[in-house]
């Protein structure tokens, strides 16, 4: 991490100043090591806590959507007040720690044990390159975006390992499904951020955030999401991210109505909790990357709001995206596996490729006259909208509207 620039407001500089105060007295090689350890500890602590409360939030919001209260009984120890069940996550944690750890007799024990660990490890690895605020990026890498997706790619393996090692038919089916789904959605996911790299001209996350600095006309931020290709890329990214993190409506690997609990069937206790945690970590990491790539990173949307520290902006955007995830889970039905792959190959991938071409058109038109600058908006919007409509029509062709006869 770089030393804080002195021109920033105090709150903006606070984290770096605090860290420097703690480690400043150490000799140089030690200081970098301790700094890194502090960063790891902070990430684990903050995101661990976040995970705990997001689970609660999810249950609460789901309850709200489904017109029921959600968990509200767990009291805070010793003072015995409920506070809407705010201590529920800790109760869950204690529960999962104390439950029996069941391993099937025929299971591949090593892999069965390794799967949740690997999943969590790879999920955490992805946090390393996300810029959480001004000058707050744990590891400054030249090829950071590539690193992020390389580390993320390995999580698929863990799901497969879990499903295969359980030696359970449902789990194996889930593993196959997970593979098919992850392979299918890896492609649009990767293709959706290539335009950003193209426009920003870099693979470094901090540089990408820097490329989104400033405001047009003083109030429209230069975020990538506010361009036709950026908006399309963002939507494709979020859809693929939903699928990559096995979230509803793409949660076929753990579809409880078909596969009991998919690859999680034979897991219990703390291993199950680890899976749960990794899933949320994956979701958080992908949201963080979406923010970095499309939503201007830690930058504030309006000039006069800049006094709020950057890491708070990042956190706010993160929570908003997570809320979006939960909302989608609450409202969309699950897709069938064939619909899911067809959607990926016949809709998302072509659209992402067209979007790539769209970006090229955009950047070619950006160096010309003011008229071209203006014209590229409708042109690029049309380039992405027309295929969207056409592909959407083709995808839904032959699917008759459902008649609810007994409802």
């Amino acid at each position: 991490m770089i030393a804080a620039a002195t021109t920033d407001a105090f709150l903006e500089r606070a984290p770096v100043l605090l860290r420097d105060a703690v480690t400043g007295f150490l000799p140089e090689p030690w200081r970098t090591l301790v700094n890194a350890l502090i960063a790891v500890g902070l990430i684990l602590g903050i995101f661990g806590t976040l995970f705990a409360f997001i689970t609660l939030a999810e249950r609460k919001i789901l309850g709200r959507v489904q017109n029921r209260p959600g968990p509200n009984r767990a009291p805070i120890p010793f003072i015995n007040k409920r506070f809407f069940g705010l201590s529920q996550p800790f109760a869950d944690g204690v529960k999962s720690l104390t439950k029996e750890d069941i391993v099937p007799r025929d299971a591949d024990k090593v892999l069965h044990y390794l799967a949740p660990v690997a999943l969590l490890a790879f999920s955490i690895l992805t946090f390393a390159v996300i810029p959480y605020g001004r000058n707050l990026v744990p590891v400054e890498l030249d090829a950071a975006v590539l690193y992020f997706f390389a580390a993320g790619a390995a999580t698929e393996l863990a799901v497969f390992m879990a499903g295969w090692a359980s030696r359970n038919k449902y789990s194996l089916l889930a593993a196959m499904r997970a593979l098919a789904q992850l392979i299918s959605y890896e492609l649009p996911l990767l293709l959706s951020w290539v335009p950003v790299v193209l426009i920003a001209g870099t693979l470094s996350t901090t540089a990408i955030v820097d490329a989104q600095a400033g405001w047009k006309f003083g109030f429209i931020p230069h975020w990538h999401v506010f361009t036709p290709w950026g908006f399309a890329g963002f939507v494709i990214f979020m859809v693929a991210a939903l699928a990559e993190s096995n979230r509803s409506p793409f949660d076929t690997p753990e579809a409880e109505s078909e596969l009991i609990a998919g690859h999680l069937t034979e897991y219990s206790g703390f291993k199950y909790a680890l899976f749960f945690m990794a899933e949320y970590f994956g979701m958080l990491a992908l949201s963080g990357m979406a923010i970095t790539l499309f939503l201007g990173g830690w930058r504030s949307p309006l000039p006069f709001l800049e006094f709020i520290p950057s890491y708070l902006w990042f956190g706010g955007k993160l929570l908003a995206l997570i809320f979006g995830f939960i909302w989608i889970r609450a409202t969309f039905p699950r897709l069938r596996i064939d619909q899911l792959t067809r959607f990926a190959w016949k809709f998302l991938v072509p659209l992402a490729l067209i979007n790539l071409g769209n970006t090229i058109v955009w950047s070619l038109m950006s160096n010309s006259s003011a008229l071209m600058q203006l014209a590229r908006w409708p042109v690029c919007a049309a380039i992405i909208l027309v295929p969207f409509v056409v592909l959407g029509r083709k995808l839904s062709a032959g699917v008759a509207p459902r008649i609810y006869r007994y409802a």
Binding site: A143, A153, F160, W164, G201, T202
Partner: protein, 171 residues
């Protein structure tokens, strides 16, 4: 410096060697992934950051998936695991051939004087790679793109079951 290299090499080789001897194909594939990760670590050690991530992305992220998928799709029964009489002979001849190649290669390497003791780790930024890819190697990049497209289309054609053909083949 060399110690790190030796550790990486030993881990990679160990994983690969065990993977090649295991009966359980899934275990082999997973160990090979570890081996590929070791190769990526070697790239990192050598300062080729981009290549390392690309290796992880392609091998661990994509190739391994396809391999696992193929293993699952072709899993038949325990009959595939039985040792056929010619297995032992093939294994022995394989070891002899491989060992001979290894001996020859290592002998050649050791016998060749290599003047380079240690030079500073070269750096190559992503930007340089991008410029090279789009400049000097633009034609190669295009060709590789075409190759990949054609290969994937071919893979789909080969692997997709042609249901109509079965009825026509039977006389």
């Amino acid at each position: 410096m060399n110690a790190v290299l030796i550790v990486i090499a030993l881990v990679t080789l160990g994983a690969a060697a065990v993977a090649m001897t295991l009966r359980n194909l899934i275990h082999s594939a997973l160990l090979l992934i570890a081996s590929w990760a070791g190769v990526a670590a070697f790239y990192l050690w050598a300062g080729a950051e981009f290549v390392a991530f690309a290796e992880i992305l392609v091998y661990v992220g994509a190739v391994s998936m396809v391999v696992l998928f193929a293993v699952l799709l072709t899993r038949r029964s325990r009959a595939d695991l039985t040792v056929t009489p010619d297995s032992a002979g093939r294994a022995i001849s394989g070891f002899i051939a491989g060992g001979a190649v290894c001996g020859v290669l290592v002998g050649a390497i050791v016998a060749t004087p290599m003047g380079v003791g240690s030079s500073p780790t070269p750096t190559v930024t992503v930007k340089q790679i991008g410029v090279q890819l789009m400049g000097t190697h633009a034609a190669s990049l295009l060709i590789v793109g075409v190759l990949l497209t054609v290969a994937l289309l071919g893979a789909i054609v080969i692997a997709s079951a042609d249901r109509t053909d079965d009825s026509e083949d039977t006389p």
